[in-house]
Each structure stands twice: as structure tokens, then as C-alpha cells.
Subunit: 208 residues, 2 copies
DNA sequence: AGATTGAACGATTTGTTGATTATTCAGAAA
DNA sequence: TTTCTGAATAATCAACAAATCGTTCAATCT
């Protein structure tokens, strides 16, 4: 069992090198096998197929990212709004940089989310769990107020969809995206918050 | 001049029939020209190219849609939240149905937004103008409160991006999309509204 | 037995060719 | 002159062949 894990790791390692150097499409199973000093057929004792190797790489990488997000979500000394801010901005910056400067990463992201729609969904769910925890604590502290935390987390994700795969939706630069995310977050926060802000002025507008 | 407009209309009409019947890619300029009893070369006196004919068709169609949106934005007897609701839902339903049941429309939408990114941007801007008007009036009536209407309109669009090209982002059914849009709108509204709702309970949560 | 191989298979990709098509423009019609 | 034509051009597409590659599995090794 320890044996198998080591071999799997070896395969993942070899594939990681090939994928990041030549791209997913341009590396063959034969090459990966040869790097591991085994026959192509033998790879299939450890992974059902090529895509599953890519998925293993993505999962490994994503898990680290998730841990980081979890830390951001529970930072002491910051209020809920700041932590939500950190969370969403980290997400935006990570994907932006990853896809921007690394065409290989972009290729793999595209292939995986195309052929394995469940995977993208799984990522969303994981992040939602973190969001729910954040919202839950925020509600306990009276910082936010909402009916259904699970649902609200879904809605926050829906509203920030544009910033999750930034370059799929638009060709905006990172600063512009950050400015937009800041604005959207502000709208959402003020909505969540049971009104720390005391703007009580009733309609005093000058109608034309 | 009146002459030219008529010829342009004739071309647009012929192309509209061909495009909606056989698709954009499958209709040739020669066919459109022949339908108009003219030579292919002559089309280029009226349109710079094939794509521009498609754009003219899209523009015509979209203008009607815009008018409809404008009406929804100023419906008397409805408050700002309801009108915003109507606006965003109309947008969602229109694009959903259009792209869902009409593969020709989908093809044209894809081609145009691919080759003419400016066009999609122009549509967004037009809708934003309507949004700004809605927000402006809502603020005058004290229904909403915001710093910068133009910016807020942009943020509303950013937050509802997912519902603007629904089938590009997800495979959700219309009911699910509607439920989500409802939720996102709610978050945004409560954020916009200077608190008609009187939830004044200060942190009464039971901290563990 | 279980682990591994590598030739064989079918699917996918690549390369190439020929035909179609958008676009142009020199000239014909008006 | 202005308006239009339609053959010429260059770009794109479709179809087919060859090669490559992911995957399988009967045979081999340990």
C-alpha cells in the first residue's frame, strides 16, 4: 500500500514535470511511463486514465490553496467583512495569475473543467463550506444577518462568479477586476450587515 | 439615401431569412445577393462584410428588446426593487429562451461576440444606462441609497453576470437560475436599501 | 499466484489536397 | 460619372489518408 502510494506519487511527479513543460496534450502516456521506468500499460494499474493523472495534480495543488483559504477565513483580529474580502481577493488573484502567466495551467484547467464538470463543482462546494463557516461565525458575532447561511453562501458565489474565472468572462486587467470585486463586495456586505451604518435620512432628494 | 436604406433593408431581410433557416455559416454571400437580385460584389457597397449584416440584424432585434427593458424600468405602481427584479428577470429569460430553443440564434450570438467584442460591450452599456435611470429615480424617492450611480450600476451588472449568458457558464435549468437570481437580487437590494426593514437586534447570538 | 510488459486496437489528431467562399476590383452598363 | 457586375484572388473549410496516441489484454516474468 505504501508501495502503491509511492508509485502513484512518482507518476504524478513525472506527469507534473511533463505537463508543465510541454503541456497536457503534448505529453504522451508513453513518455510519462518511460520517465517512471515502466511500460505505458502499467500506468493503468495506478490511474484509470491520463485525465485522472491531471486531476490528481490539480487536486494536490488545489488542496494547498484550500488550506490557505481556510486560514484567511478565520484570521483573528479581522472582522467578517475583511475576512470575506481577503477570501474573495485571494481567489481572484490566484486564478488570475495562474491562468495569466502559465498557458500550461490554463490548458489543464480548461481540459479538466470541460471533461470533468464534477471537479469544478467539487471546488465550488469546498469553498462554499469555508464561506458558510465564515458567515456562521459572523452571524454569531452579530456582524452579518441572514436567513439561510448555505443559501447565502451560494448567492455570494453566484454574484462573484465573474471573478472566479476572470479571463473566461472578460479581458479586464487585474486592477480593474479588483476594483470591480471591491464594489460588488461592498454591495453584498452592506446587504448582509444589520446596519452598523446609521444613514437615517429619509427621502430628502430634490425632484426636478 | 432613401434608396440606399431600402436596399440595406432588403439585404438585411434576405440575410435574416437565410440565417434563421440555414444558419450563419451555411449561407453564402452569393445566396443573399441572389435573393436580392444583385451580384455578390454589390453587397459590399452596402455592408463592409458578412459579419456586418449579422450585426445589423442583431442590432435591430436588440433595439426592440432594449425598448421593452426601458418600459419595465419605469413601470408605474411598482417600487424600485420590483422594477429591478423585472429588468433582470426579463434579461435572463430572454437570453435563456433565445439560446435554448434556437441554435441559429446561438450560433450568431457566438460568432458576433467572438469577432466583435465591442458589440457585447455596447449592449452592456445600453442596459447600464437604463439601470442608472432606475437607480437615479429610486434614490430620489429614497428607496435606494448609493454613492455613485454609474459605478453601482456597473457592480449590479458584474454581480449578475452569471445570468446574462446563462448557458455559457453553467448547465443550470431556468428555474434554478431564477431561484439564484432571486437570491442574488435580494442580497443586492437589501444592500442598496437604506433600511426600510427594522431589524435592530444588536448581537444577541449565543457565542460558544 | 500477482506484477509487468508491449504489441494490437480503435479513437483522435495531423497533414494534405481540393473545393467553397468572402472579398476585391477592372471593367461593363446606365 | 455613378452604379453595378462577375471573374480573379486569397482565405477558409471539408474530406480523406496517414500517423500518433490512449487504452487494453494476452503473454511473460518474478
Amino acid at each position: 500500500m505504501a508501495e502503491k502510494d509511492t508509485v502513484k506519487d512518482q507518476i504524478v511527479d513525472a506527469a507534473k514535470k511533463r505537463f508543465s513543460h510541454f503541456g497536457y496534450a503534448k505529453t504522451t502516456m508513453a513518455e510519462v511511463a518511460s520517465d517512471c521506468a515502466m511500460s505505458p500499460g502499467n500506468l493503468y494499474r495506478f490511474f484509470p486514465g491520463k485525465l485522472d493523472i491531471a486531476e490528481a495534480i490539480a487536486t494536490e495543488d488545489y488542496s494547498k490553496h484550500l488550506e490557505h483559504l481556510r486560514k484567511l477565513a478565520v484570521q483573528p483580529g479581522k472582522d467578517a467583512a475583511q475576512r470575506l474580502h481577503d477570501l474573495l481577493f485571494e481567489e481572484l488573484r490566484r486564478t488570475y495569475h495562474k491562468l495569466e502567466k502559465d498557458p500550461r495551467a490554463y490548458e489543464m484547467a480548461r481540459v479538466i473543467s470541460q471533461e470533468r464538470p464534477k471537479f469544478a463543482n467539487w471546488m465550488l462546494e469546498n469553498e462554499r463550506k469555508i464561506l458558510v463557516e465564515l458567515l456562521d461565525e459572523a452571524e454569531r458575532r452579530g456582524e452579518f444577518k441572514m436567513d439561510d447561511k448555505e443559501f447565502t453562501a451560494e448567492m455570494v458565489q453566484a454574484a462573484t462568479m465573474k471573478f472566479r474565472y476572470p479571463q473566461l468572462w472578460s479581458k479586464l486587467t487585474l486592477p480593474k477586476l479588483e476594483r470591480e470585486l471591491e464594489g460588488v463586495m461592498n454591495l453584498l456586505i452592506v446587504g448582509l450587515c444589520p446596519h452598523m451604518t446609521e444613514l437615517r435620512r429619509s427621502a430628502h432628494g430634490e425632484a426636478a
